[in-house]
């Protein structure tokens, strides 16, 4: 068994996840061409993220620091969730913003890094305690996100948990989680009718062009307007729609840079995600990180074009938002660093 994995390791092609991160970050920065202050901020965060990636990825491979990293991640994660629930400010429905000394950031984005750090090492034979800790933390994270109305993030955390549970051969845990999440979801829908309305309006964007389908119809119009090659950077109008540069960023890319670039962005994320899943040496944390990146991309793109409910999840690296970019680089570091020997 060990010989096989050794052999696999030597034959395995090296993944360069940072290349995906750099390309997508560059697109994200380029989109802010008309918005200098945010462009500088986004660039700074991307560079800090890249530097953080350079530090965190090698640290992940150092066996002795791993337990310490996990403890830190758990503590930081709990603190972030608590801060988010207690102090969070709401913007466009979800209460997921925090302002500290003039800086606004999204704690839930950083919690994603904590989750994947806690998901590392679950394939280890002595991982029972780790798994319990991870389960407890994920449950708290999912419930907290649902509590602050950020259903997109709740779903992302839930999928990350499923991925790690399956990776840990605990299919029964995954099943139990799915059933309880389904039950909790049904309860939430029953308790909060406006959420049910949002989910039920999915697929009917063109019937509600002024209300629940506003963002999705504008995104589809923009995508079709851009054709295959786009109108050119800064020449679109979708960027003028509120929060378009985060929630409808796929539409902005298609309108200004063309559908081809938009599709390439999707392919990049899917390629990286699938490659991580198929790479034998990927650790459970790397798998969870890959699932988070893919899920975010899919919720962002498909939500903005009315295939799934619109949840306001960010497109990894591309959506405007410093915390999101930093978190995505954190996820990449885990993808690169979390490998089983």
């Amino acid at each position: 068994m060990k010989a096989v994995s050794e052999k696999a390791k030597t034959e395995e092609k090296k993944l360069y996840p940072e290349v995906v991160g750099i390309i997508l970050s560059a697109i994200g920065v380029a989109l802010l061409w008309t918005d200098w202050s945010n462009m500088i901020k986004q660039t700074m965060c991307a560079l800090i993220g890249l530097a953080g990636f350079g530090i965190l990825a090698p640290m992940m491979q150092a066996r002795r620091i791993k337990p310490a990293i996990r403890v830190l991640a758990a503590l930081l994660g709990v603190a972030l969730i608590a801060a988010n629930v207690v102090l969070g400010e709401s913007e466009y429905g979800a209460q997921n913003w925090l302002t500290i000394a003039g800086w606004t950031f999204q704690p839930s984005e950083l919690v994603k890094v904590c989750v994947v750090l806690l998901a590392t090492g679950l394939t280890d034979k002595r991982s029972k305690f780790r798994f319990i800790l991870f389960t407890a933390f994920s449950a708290v994270a999912v419930l907290a996100m649902a509590f602050i109305n950020d259903f997109g993030s709740a779903l992302v955390f839930f999928l990350a948990y499923l991925a790690a549970a399956v990776d840990n051969k605990r299919y029964y845990m995954a099943g139990l989680a799915a059933v309880s999440a389904g039950g909790a979801g049904a309860l939430a829908v029953k308790l909060r009718p406006h959420i049910a309305a949002r989910f039920l309006s999915c697929g009917k964007a063109w019937e509600n062009v002024a209300t629940t389908g506003y963002q999705q119809t504008r995104t589809m119009i923009a995508i079709a307007s851009g054709g295959l090659v786009g109108a050119g950077l800064g020449n679109g109008w979708l960027r003028g729609v509120a929060a378009a540069d985060t929630d409808m960023v796929f539409g902005i890319v298609c309108e200004e840079l063309g559908l081809i670039v938009g599709v390439l962005m999707i392919i990049l994320v899917l390629y990286l995600g699938v490659a991580v899943l198929m790479r034998p040496s990927s650790g459970s944390g790397a798998v969870a990180a890959a699932v988070i990146l893919m899920a975010q991309m899919a919720l962002n793109v498909l939500g903005s074009v009315d295939v799934v409910p619109f949840t306001g999840v960010t497109f990894p690296f591309v959506s405007r938002g410093g915390t999101s970019v930093l978190a995505c680089w954190g996820l990449l570091a885990v993808i690169d660093g979390d490998k089983n020997a």
Partner: protein
């Protein structure tokens, strides 16, 4: 890599598989609806408070009909030109559904899959001649109705006027009966005697000795115990005179001999019951009812009864007769601003897209008889120099209203391959009112070098 993948992770591939299915759903929708999405009135790239802010419309000679200046849509400066071309161009409020501003939005914007709505220049050239439209508009002289002229070789519609019209710049709702309706494209009228063209074509093909027959007309014929009146006492006459004099007695006899089913079959095969596709605009289609007795069959063949005919389909039929039996594909778009768009358009319309309606033998016979109509009845002197073939119609519309006046036909001169239809509502005599309008418009078309 697939073989070495950890087995327990195969289940996780469900996630990318679901994502790809979701993307597939989107791309299928995109392929089907991209044009409709891009042309949405909510597209801020091309609309501003409900106004299309991109795309200039010119007539075939490059005369501006509508253009955008500083983000505001403007129209021709001459009010008569504006009213005469309103139905072709469309109006600022988008009330005229078949106008270019509504019907050719995609062409106006120059939408294509490669550059989307951003093709830099967006000019649309219509086939109509705005001066000819003005002449037709003025010739109608207050009558409600329509005038259209088409080149029967190329199918280009050179003149298309519908009255009453409106001023397309006015944001107020126009007064009048159906001002936003393009009567050429979207109305159906009782055809009256112009329908005898259809009955005659059927007779030429179904009754072998029709050319030798003699018909007797003493001003009226009794069928099923009631009189079918003719407008004159024609005495004994052959088919060409029966057609030229539009003798109801003769055509009642022919109609009963053919039977209502045969007449309706011919109306269908000659295109009168289907809608004509003009660059994507669907015209209204005519309709006919089977007759429950011979008297109704007679009126069906005479063009009364419950017959309804759309002027565009009538024009298409006479164009086919003029063109040796093949109806040309009608066009309203003559060109687009960029080479790429013109190329795409040329590819879409390449090859012979005409449709045979009548055999060439029948079309020759019909041409001869419609030529004889003008010579023997309408008077060559009323259409100087036109080499005209025509048929008039005076359609009774019931009550004490004056009948609708129809005049349809074509010019045989190869240099001016023009076919036309004129309808003036409650205009009285077909050859009189509509015939005069047709002459004015055709003289102007020839003088203008169409």
């Amino acid at each position: 890599m697939v073989i070495k993948m950890r087995k327990r992770r195969i289940a996780l591939l469900l996630i990318p598989a679901l994502i790809i299915s979701g993307l597939a759903v989107f791309f299928v929708r995109y392929a089907e609806n991209r044009q409709a999405w891009a042309m949405s009135v909510y597209n801020r790239g091309i609309y501003s408070s409900g106004q299309l802010i991109t795309g200039n419309i010119y007539d075939r000679n490059g005369i501006m009909l509508s253009k955008v200046e500083d983000g505001v849509r403007r129209f021709a400066s001459d009010e008569t030109i504006r009213r005469a071309t309103a139905h072709a161009t469309g109006d600022i409020n988008g009330n005229i559904g078949t106008g270019a501003l509504k019907a050719f939005t995609s062409e106006l914007v120059g939408y294509n899959i490669i550059t989307g709505i951003n093709n830099g220049r967006s000019d649309l050239y219509l086939t109509i001649d705005s001066e000819l439209n003005r002449t037709a508009y003025e010739a109608l002289g207050g009558y409600s109705g329509t005038v259209a002229v088409v080149n029967y070789k190329t199918g280009e519609i050179l003149c298309m006027v519908s009255t009453p019209s409106c001023d397309p710049v006015s944001s107020e709702t126009a007064e009048g009966d159906g001002v936003y309706l393009n009567r050429f494209l979207s109305a159906s009228y009782t055809p009256g005697s112009v329908f005898k063209i259809i009955t005659l074509i059927a007779a030429l093909e179904e009754i072998p000795d029709i050319m030798e027959r003699e018909f007797a007309c003493n001003g009226s014929v009794e069928i099923d115990g009631e009189a079918v009146n003719c407008h004159s006492v024609h005495g004994t006459l052959k088919i060409e005179d029966a057609f030229a004099q539009s003798c109801n007695c003769a055509f009642a006899e022919i109609a009963i001999e053919l039977g209502d089913d045969t007449i309706i079959e011919y109306a269908e095969s000659l295109g009168l019951t289907s809608s004509v596709d003009i660059d994507g605009i669907q015209t209204a289609s005519g309709s006919f009812d089977t007759a429950e007795n011979d008297r109704y069959t007679a009126w069906l063949g005479i063009g009364q009864y419950r017959d309804l005919v759309n002027p565009a389909s009538m024009l298409r039929l006479v164009s086919a007769i003029a063109n040796g039996g093949a109806a040309p594909e009608f066009r309203l778009i003559s060109g687009q601003g960029t080479a790429l768009l013109s190329f795409i358009d040329a590819m879409e319309h390449r090859g012979d897209r005409s449709e045979r309606l009548v055999s060439s033998a029948t079309s020759e016979q019909m041409t001869a008889m419609m030529d004889y109509n003008v010579y023997s009845n309408y008077g060559d002197g009323n259409f100087p120099g036109l080499e005209l073939c025509a048929k008039s119609g005076t359609a009774e519309v019931g009550g004490d209203k004056a009948p609708h006046s129809w005049f349809v036909g074509f010019i045989t001169n190869e240099e001016y391959p023009l076919a036309f239809v004129v309808v003036s509502e409650n205009g009285g005599s077909g050859a009189g009112t509509a015939g005069r309008i047709a002459n004015t418009v055709l003289q102007s078309a020839i003088a203008g070098g169409e």
